[in-house]
Symmetry: C2
Subunit: 91 residues, 2 copies
């Protein structure tokens, strides 16, 4: 059962580093090495395929920004948590 | 010896798919599979490290856009050609 939009907004507020910009979940990740950011993008891609929900990704040298359109059917919160875990492993 | 800006602009005109937007070389690459685009980004990252010149990268599902600021000291043309070759291998 999909969660309500209100529940989603509340949960996004608890997610480390993510914020809501209109209907898009956004998080900026910073790395101390360029290739660590690239390895993180690889992990994000694998997670995105698993969820069949692909964030818009920008790589600006050591900064990676993800923009994930909110889709209450697609468990964004779980996906965002997995992405945060991937960041902890690759930072 | 760095090439002149005029020579650079002429050479960019010959590069497949690249165009100049103000002082930034831009090319959009499209893939028929999401993970092919990601493998291409990995190749672009390795090339960028070798040239120590990192394009701004956006990944929008199966579309990858590179924006490489023109730097006449840094042989952008050779880098762009290597990136184009990586695209042929990963498309």
């Amino acid at each position: 059962m999909p969660i309500t939009e209100e529940e989603l907004r509340e949960q996004i507020g608890k997610l480390e580093g993510w914020k809501l910009e209109q209907d898009i979940m956004v998080r900026k990740y910073m790395f101390n090495e360029y290739m660590k950011g690239i390895a993180f993008v690889d992990a994000v891609a694998a997670i995105s395929e698993a969820f069949d929900h692909h964030p818009h990704i920008t790589i600006d040298y050591k900064t990676v920004i993800l923009r994930l359109p909110v889709d209450v059917e697609k468990l964004d919160i779980r996906q965002a948590n997995e992405i945060n875990e991937a960041f902890e492993k690759n930072r």
